[in-house]
């Protein structure tokens, strides 16, 4: 983990050096303002600009490596964490991605389906209870119960 911090610190310092290089000709006044750029100004500016860009890219990459490492160690939570009951997939296991996403979908839908099932069973039970007192409707209740409900 420390290696990413060192890399990021080095990239940050290199970016600052690049920014200094872009400003130095004017800060040290070896480039007069308004005058045509001299050779040292061209060299410093066109070395400093790519250096800033490359170092910022490096800084972002080292930082993302650090974040990845923190997530791998469980210090930082993943943005799309898997449910607690489901085992986490290995990072290199690309082949099982399709199956993994199906499992995720099942995990998401399972509580919804369970709740729907429970609701339907409760409604059936209530209907059975309401019609139990009226003997004329026994046949109707049974047929209504068989129509759209799920029984265990």
């Amino acid at each position: 983990m420390a290696k990413y911090v060192i890399g990021a610190a080095g990239a940050l310092l290199a970016a600052l050096v690049g920014a200094w290089l872009m400003l130095a000709p004017f800060a040290l006044a070896y480039q007069g303002s308004g005058a045509d750029w001299a050779d040292p100004t061209y060299v410093d500016f066109w070395t400093g600009l790519p250096l800033v860009v490359i170092s910022v890219i490096g800084l972002i990459l080292y930082a993302s490596g650090l974040v990845e490492e923190l997530r791998r160690r469980g210090i930082m939570p993943r943005p799309y964490a898997t449910p607690a009951g489901q085992p986490q997939e290995a990072p290199g296991n690309q082949g099982a991605n399709a199956t993994g996403s199906e499992n995720n979908m099942e995990q998401i839908l399972l509580p919804l389906l369970t709740a729907m099932l429970k609701d339907m069973q409760e409604r059936d039970r209530e209907r059975d209870g309401a019609h139990a007192g009226t003997p004329n409707n026994v046949q109707q209740t049974r047929s209504a119960g068989e129509e759209g409900s799920v029984r265990r």
Binding site: K3, G7, G10, V17, P25, D39, V43, I54, G65
Partner: protein, 84 residues
């Protein structure tokens, strides 16, 4: 090592070579004549180039050292698990 870190290392190597370029630029571009007193631009480029070389080299060395340290610890942990 994360793939991002590998590309990050490449950017550090590029910064190292940029430092070498800065160090040599006054004499290659010939705005500093050999044997004459150094002008401000030369002094700035030499100091900045030197600093950039030092920063990049130190980053690379420390990164390699910590990466090796992590690899050794991982290998030790693996061997301990297999022994159990």
């Amino acid at each position: 090592m994360a793939p991002q870190a590998r590309i990050g290392l490449i950017t550090t190597v590029i910064a190292f070579f940029a430092g070498i370029w800065l160090f040599l630029a006054p004499f290659i571009v010939e705005y500093q004549k050999v044997g004459q007193d150094w002008i401000d631009a030369t002094k700035n480029d030499l100091w900045t180039g030197g600093a950039l070389i030092a920063i990049s080299a130190l980053t690379l060395i420390l990164f390699a050292a910590f990466a090796l340290h992590d690899a050794v610890r991982a290998a030790e942990r693996k061997s301990a698990e297999t022994e159990e």
